[in-house]
Each structure stands twice: as C-alpha cells, then as structure tokens.
C-alpha cells in the first residue's frame, strides 16, 4: 500500500475524513433550502452513495485490492436489488 498517497501514508485517511465531513455538512444544509422533495431525495441518496464508496474504497482499501474482492461485495448488492421491486409490488397490492 506504499505505492500511493505520495510521501505521507496517513494523508489519504485525513483527506477522506475531511471530504466526508464536507459532504455531511452539505447534506445537513440541504434541508434548509426549499427544493422539490424528489430533488432532495436524489441529492441525499447521491451523496450517501459517494460517502459509502469513499469509505469502502479509501478506508477499507477496496480500491487497492484485487478486483475479485470488489466483485463479491458488489454482487451481493445486485442480489439485494432484486428484493426492492418485489417489496414495492407487495406494497402496491396492500389495501389502504
């Protein structure tokens, strides 16, 4: 892992930490502005995904591992995506 991040190997963690903080502040401020609900949801989910990728990639070193390891992680998420439309279809059939 010494082949990246320049001379200071600790730097990547604190750069990531700072960006994560900025994103969190942006997410907290977003609700203060008036915007359509769908836009707020899209904004928050996009930033949430960015934070998740940064934590998995930089903190958990997934970016620097062999691609095979990343593939087992992503595959499980694909499995999960199958459940979501299914639960939505159950919801559509639920009498209100």
């Amino acid at each position: 892992m010494s082949d990246h991040g320049g001379s200071n190997p600790y730097k990547i963690y604190w750069t990531t930490w700072f960006v994560l903080l900025l994103i969190t502040v942006a997410m907290l401020l977003a609700e203060k502005f008036h915007m359509p609900r769908w836009f707020l949801v899209a904004f928050l989910v996009a930033f949430m995904a960015t934070k998740a990728v940064m934590i998995a990639g930089n903190f958990m070193h997934l970016r620097f591992e062999k691609a095979n390891l990343g593939i087992i992680v992503v595959t499980s998420l694909i499995l999960f995506l199958f459940i979501t439309p299914e639960s939505a279809s159950v919801l559509a059939k639920t009498p209100r």
Binding site: W17, T24, I55, F59, M60, E65, N68, L69, S76, I83
Partner: protein
Amino acid sequence: MTDAHAATLEAHWGGGAAPFGATWQKTMMWIFIVTDGLLFSGLLCGYAFLRMASPMPWPKQSEVFSIPFIALMTFILITSSAFMGSAVTAARLGDRKKTLLNLALTIVGGAAFLGCQAIEWSHLIHEGARLTGNPWGAPQFGQAFFLLTGFHGSHVFSGLVILAITYVRSLMGKTPAQGVEIAGLYWHFVDLVWVFIFTLFYLL
C-alpha cells in the same frame, strides 16, 4: 471458452492460488462484512416498507431528534474511523507507539458514540417512544428506530470489544499488522452502515 481463458481460470481458481489476493483471514472478514451488509440492507428495506405502507403520517425527524446532536454522533464516528485508518497504516509501518495511540483514540471515539446513543435512547424513551408506539405519529416509527439504531449500536459495541482485544494484544506485541487491519475493516464497516442509517432514517 477459449483455451487461454480456461488456463487463466485454472491458474486462479484451480487451487493453490489466492484468487482474492488476500489471506484467508482477510477474505473471511470481507465475506462476513458482505453478509452483515445484507442484514442491514434487509433492515433498511423493512424500514422503507413500513414507512411507505404506514397509513399514518411518518413523524418529522427534525421534531423528534436533535439533528445537531445526530450530526455530532456522525462526526465522532467518522473521526474514529480516520484514527482507525491511521492505526492500520502505523501497524503496517511497524510503528507500535503510533498504532497504540491511534487505536486508543479510535476506542475513545467509539465509546463516545455509544454514550451519545445511550443519551438519545433514554431521552426518547422518557418522551414515550416504545417499540409499539410513540407520541409523534406512525407507531412503526419506534420499531424502526429501536431496531435500526439498536442493531447498529450493538455492532459498535462488538467493534469496541474487538478493538480493545486488538489494543491489549498489540501492547503485548502479539497482533501482527494484518490483525489491526482486519479489526479496522470491521470498524470501517460499522461507520459505513451509519452513513446509510444517518441518511435514510434521520435525514430523508
């Protein structure tokens, strides 16, 4: 399938190789993290379902929680994760003093997070939040809150136990750099789950 492809498959997956480019300990931790990730995916999916299916309006989070307090908890957890990363790097570089210092700071952060959660829980229970109902709206809100944050909090707790063991063993010089890294993987995962709970439960 071409011969070259078959040869590659044989070389990487035919045995005797490390297809993930990681030791078995690290691979097992990753597989555990994937299964644990599915557990939380299921919980979050269940929460989304309860919320969408609820005939009563969902309580407005900013009226129930103190969002600045939740932001502080997020800050504490992200910071402890950065200390953990530094501990992993220090362990890899063989700097035991720095490893121990960063591990200690990680543990302090995790304990502070659990303390904040204890304050939040007792405050909400005092206000009347229960698994079966709450004063603010849809009764499922209480269930979703206690289950999501409870499962996450118990993960923070087990993470603290793992970190404490890693700290003591590092102090005795018994933990190899990889041991710190694997403990770190789990700790970062706990932080990762909080990112989702923070966004989907507290902000949306």
